[in-house]
Symmetry: C2
């Protein structure tokens, strides 16, 4: 009986398109049913499967004809398996195989066999399938670009045919990683008692911050919903509601002019906790980051991440998101270089330098490149001073006519430079702007020296942000994070007289020079919140109109609370070593906010507009079009 | 040393608002740090904790003064713990406790002690905290309704103060259940190789189906995005892209006039698979449902769910979502009742009855109620015929003057009625409409007899839906599911001549009379898809304009694929035994699509409209307002 079973279970009868298979159920009763499209995937067969009868389905990656044999690489999400058709055994079948084009979808039945010439690069490379039947499920036109990691398709073409681009292994891997990360994140937060709560997408418009996308309401003519820039106020309400620990992997929307790494819709890992101090928040999300890096990349982050004040970050790296994969900390040179010898430095509000190890042998051409780099409008420096401390002990600098050797040796000491190092110096009349320029130069040097290794991860917290920052555009103080951020209790007395000096209970999670997450302790006291609105220039009426629900909620027992949000797109792209968040988004939009595949946005019917009580200002639209 | 340790670890010093605690780290070095807001939650202390020094934080549920003692019930998400203040021990502290109002937020430190009068209804009911310190973190105004399971707040008030409503245990539990279900669903699907992929929220408008919400694009003046009614076409593109198994817990949007159980934004568990037959899909999602019912409710669904054809469901229950928690299947009575004796029946296109067990003793009043029930406009029947088969063997009916006892005994046999049963009969000139009326009556009887038990779950698949249904409104055939549904291969020859007879490869998952999920095999052949659009009245141009991306995608090797979507809101509300999906949504909208808490939608600034090249048709809006 056991013997019969083995024989029968291997018996496969193919009838036309629908394979009918004889099978036993548990009670050894023979049942007929429509066969599965496949019994195995293209990624799982190994030498141990040799001799098995299998059915695979997938896309034709390539076909090769060699003598009387035709080889087909069949691809699915799980891998590639080689199929062999033998002209001598079944000429008609082999003929059909020869007609297959790239990206045809086929179903193949055959026997797993050991390959004579194995392919060590493929997990399935030890075996091939000796085909006994084949069924074309879908034909394919010639794809507009090759479905390979190194494709011949340009950006625009690949975006238009994104469904083909997504077939490429390297692109799909990013989306698989994204899935894996969200599963890990959700299970981690669940294990720490966080509840995921879906907050609404159709909410009210809050003009503070970036521009909202709005949605006309047909049922409420003349009125609009807005899409959330973040669930900030809603998650705070959930804390007032006693939810204690909330998270959401949430879609957020900002109608901004798009820069390279911005999308109109993006995803945040949004979190909020009650009854916590800043350290409690940092600890839990450090744990989360540690868990992710370990699971996804096998990287062990240190037991405790560095916390750097915003002030130190600006002073030492000219950035609130320093890349710590390499050194070249700034050295302030006001004392060292201000000697009444060089007018540019004597007049400067800031002079700072970096020591680039081992680059004293930079050529004139290379130094000119660096000078041009800092003078680009994106950087904006007026010039670059260099000092080469040559390996032979000699010194050569662009300020030789102003400073003598003693001066430059003093500089060498201040910079901690060794023979063979190159010191680069910027100065300017605005300290912070000059630091930001020096930051660009530092990153450029890191890039040139190959120090920004995508497989190395340096994470840290930036803390003690200023609560406000001055907006030249708006000519007023703006909230650095948002209006709900708690001031440092020690600085509350400064709120009236010196708001610019008040530190926020805010923190950013930075990895490899990228701000991956950020958050803050929130104000939970209605009066302090009103004070904040006042400093930010809200009239009490406007504050009530926009945030009345939150101010009211605080009247009914708000717990101390805090939170943060990680940018999922950025987090995934760092983990995947990508240059753009676009590469880890299934259907991204281009820099005009268009989905070129769907051809959206588009015009809508007049009846749709009528139902919404809206008119497009065609005159202005046409003016714009004819520009 | 051990002794010292115990003494020190219990030593708590409270300094102003910020508690500073002396603690040992692992190396027994004393460190100062800002104490946690709490060391335990209000839900975790048990008798075993007696003697421990703890700090709790939460909301004041109630206070009671008894003699020299004040008792405070402190509440957080995790439970309620009783705090005791003793006037004789610390009069000032007790005084402060007496000033606490409902919903104040406080932090209390004290010692866990065994209660003399235990509360068996609370997991923490064996203990209380003898308070030694208290700190009011937030005061509260008197809440507009009581924060109790049985609250005195009406619907409108609770929605306006949703953040207080969500504090109620019974409401928060629903959201916790929702979280738990999504965690279970994600991990289940992940274990079956599904990848969650986020599809965009800003897509193109597709007028087929329900009305879209649209979003004006500032960067593309005069053009609009639409919010997805479902990720249908995008998930099909992911199949073309070779993703093999996709899912997403996805927000969907429909701008419909809201009925009781509809929300403008709702959430779907959206799934799609490649290389599968219908049975493969049903099997995997049956497994998922089985897993959920087991984990969430401890209910074992049968090893294989019943599959009922749409035709049988309509014939036996007058519904494509029959409630199988009770019997009362329809019996068609055309042969039995058409005897040329009763004109109403003689002229009817359909006569059907249900046998209500044990209800022959229904009074005149009760039968009148039933007659009124079926005559309500929502049901729409012209009248109700009843036959009582009394327990004593006598028969009493509303058609006694038309039918003799032999007729009614024949009916009894046809209905399978016993003595004591009540037979209810409806007839009409439109078979399906009458069946739907009889369905309402059947459900009403189930309700009256308490047979619609919320703790009982009867799940089944409805299969073999008609591919098209006739729309009286549009005067054309519409897709029953959507235009991408695969016709039953056996019925393809009928497409041209008898499209109304073509069965779809579509299936619904029904539980307790509610359609929880639905899906279909999809067309993956461009030509068949074009044919479908043609039957649905699309010109080729319109089909290309709206679905060109999909039709094009099918040219490059589309795999056979199928999928389905569960309504998460409905699924959760069934599991939670709720009457409305609103109760498992954190911030639902009312029947006018308004969020009364946020007061959204609302008017927006003219500058916002100008940026979007839009004008509100104020004249028409005002006309409407003045109506």
């Amino acid at each position: 009986m056991l013997c019969d079973f083995l024989i029968f279970s291997d018996l496969v009868v193919i009838l036309a398109d629908l394979l009918l298979i004889l099978q036993f159920d548990k009670d050894n009763i023979i049942t007929f049913h429509i066969a599965m499209y496949r019994t195995k995937t293209c990624g799982e067969l190994r030498l141990a499967n040799a001799g098995e009868q299998v059915t695979l389905a997938g896309w034709v990656q390539r076909t090769r004809k060699m003598g009387g044999m035709t080889f087909v690489d069949l691809r699915d999400r799980y891998g590639i398996t080689q199929i062999v058709f033998n002209n001598e055994v079944d000429a008609a079948l082999c003929d059909n195989a020869n007609k297959l084009g790239r990206e045809f979808v086929v179903q193949v039945t055959g026997t797993v066999a050991e390959r004579s010439s194995k392919n060590a690069n493929l997990p399935t490379g030890d075996v091939e399938i000796i085909a006994t039947a084949m069924n074309v499920l879908s034909e394919s036109a010639t794809p507009p670009f090759t479905i390979e990691d190194n494709t011949d398709g340009g950006d625009d073409l690949r975006m238009k045919y994104r469904y083909l681009d997504l077939r490429r292994n390297c692109v799909r891997k990013n989306l698989e990683l994204r899935h894996r990360m969200t599963i890990l994140i959700r299970n981690f937060l669940d294990s720490r008692d966080f509840i995921e709560v879906e907050t609404p997408i159709l909410i009210g418009s809050t003009p503070e911050g970036a521009r909202d996308f709005v949605v006309p309401s047909r049922m409420n003519p003349g009125q609009f919903y807005a899409l959330p820039q973040s669930p900030q106020t809603l998650k705070q309400l959930l804390m007032v509601a006693g939810f204690d620990r909330y998270f959401q992997i949430a879609k957020c929307f900002r109608d901004e002019d798009l820069r390279a790494d911005r999308q109109p819709e993006f995803t945040q890992i949004d979190c909020e906790m009650s009854y916590v101090h800043q350290d409690d928040v940092l600890e839990i999300f450090e744990d989360m980051a540690r868990h992710l890096f370990k699971e996804v990349r096998g990287v062990e982050l240190p037991a405790k991440l560095q916390q750097m004040t915003w002030h130190d970050a600006m002073r030492l790296y000219g950035s609130d998101k320093p890349d710590l994969r390499f050194g070249m900390q700034f050295v302030e040179l006001m004392d060292v270089m201000k000697k009444g010898k060089f007018g540019v430095f004597d007049d400067a509000a800031y002079i700072g330098g970096i020591c680039v190890p081992g680059c004293a042998d930079y050529s004139r051409k290379q130094l000119d490149e660096l000078t041009n780099f800092v003078k680009r409008p994106q950087v904006g420096a007026k010039g670059l001073v260099y000092v080469k401390y040559n390996a032979d002990g000699t010194i050569k600098s662009s300020v030789d006519k102003f400073y003598d050797e003693a001066d430059l040796l003093e500089l060498k000491k201040a910079m901690g430079a060794s023979d063979g190092d190159l010191v680069l110096i910027l100065s300017g009349d605005n300290a912070n702007k000059t630091r930001i320029q020096l930051c660009s130069l530092r990153l450029e040097m890191g890039e040139r020296l190959g120090l920004r290794d995508k497989d190395k991860f340096e994470c840290l917290w930036i803390v003690d942000f200023p609560l406000f920052e001055w907006s030249d555009e708006e000519q007023r103080l703006m909230a650095t994070h948002h209006p709900f951020t708690m001031p440092n209790p020690d600085d509350i007395p400064l709120l009236d007289e010196h708001p610019e000096r008040v530190r926020a209970m805010a923190y950013d999670f930075v990895c490899n020079g990228i701000e991956v997450g950020g958050g803050s302790l929130r104000i939970h006291d209605g009066k302090l919140q009103e004070k904040m609105f006042e400093i930010l220039g809200f009239t009490p009426e406007r504050a009530m109109a926009q945030f009345g629900f939150l101010i009211n909620a605080f009247k009914y027992g708000a717990p101390p609370h805090a939170g943060l949000a990680f940018g999922l797109d950025r987090f995934v792209s760092i983990m995947a070593g990508l240059d753009s968040i676009r590469d880890c988004i299934a259907f991204p939009k281009n820099n005009s906010g268009r989905d070129v595949m769907l051809d959206a946005p588009s015009e809508i019917a007049q009846e749709q507009l009528d139902e919404l009580y809206l008119n497009v200002d065609e005159q202005r639209v046409n003016l714009l079009k004819n520009k």
